[in-house]
Amino acid sequence: MVLRSSAEEARRRGDRRLGTDHLLLALLYDSDSVTARALGVSLESARAASDALDRAALSAVGVKIVSLGMPEPTPAARRLPPLTSGARAVLKRAIEEARPDKTGRIEVRHFLLALLSRERPDAAAELVHAMGIDPGDVRSRLIKSAE
């Protein structure tokens, strides 16, 4: 489920690989989820923050986008795009985060815990930083909601 939404997000943005930033955005798809509540931001505002990072980087190299409309609706994914090495590391970490739990099932919060362990310049870490989110706060809200 998380992977499917991440793939959707990657396609929407025109990225060839599924990255940690797409995983992070996927955790915001359901605004009622434990992960969206722990992060405390909306999917729209996170997408806007990501676009703002793009715009800032482009303007630093001399390219200015005057207007950005809605992205083109793209055909549905036939298969998962290849994962970036960061995204692969996050999956591995999510499995480890899930291990101590009784069920051993990988839940969305395990993905978020794994993502929070990333450090800049990781794409998800950059996005979290750009939104002014404190990873420690998110972690504690997540742990509290699991109790």
Binding site: A57, A60, G62, V63, G69, M70, E72, P73
Partner: protein, 79 residues
Amino acid sequence: MTRSPRQSRLTVMEQSELNTNIESDDPAVGLRAVGALRRLAEQVEAASVRRARERAWSWEQIGDALGVSRQSVHAKYGK
């Protein structure tokens, strides 16, 4: 399709200005910009391919315009 196409307007600065800016020390910024340009290219491509198809361009014509094979455009955008 009632959705309005994505409109992006680019302004590229003078070459000299561009070089000065690229010399800014953070590699993360330049690398992010490359990714952003790629994303932008993908989005412009998707919009343009759709418009070309609406105007009855063949996959071969679109592929030639993009400098790729007919098969690869069709695989990416074909229904």
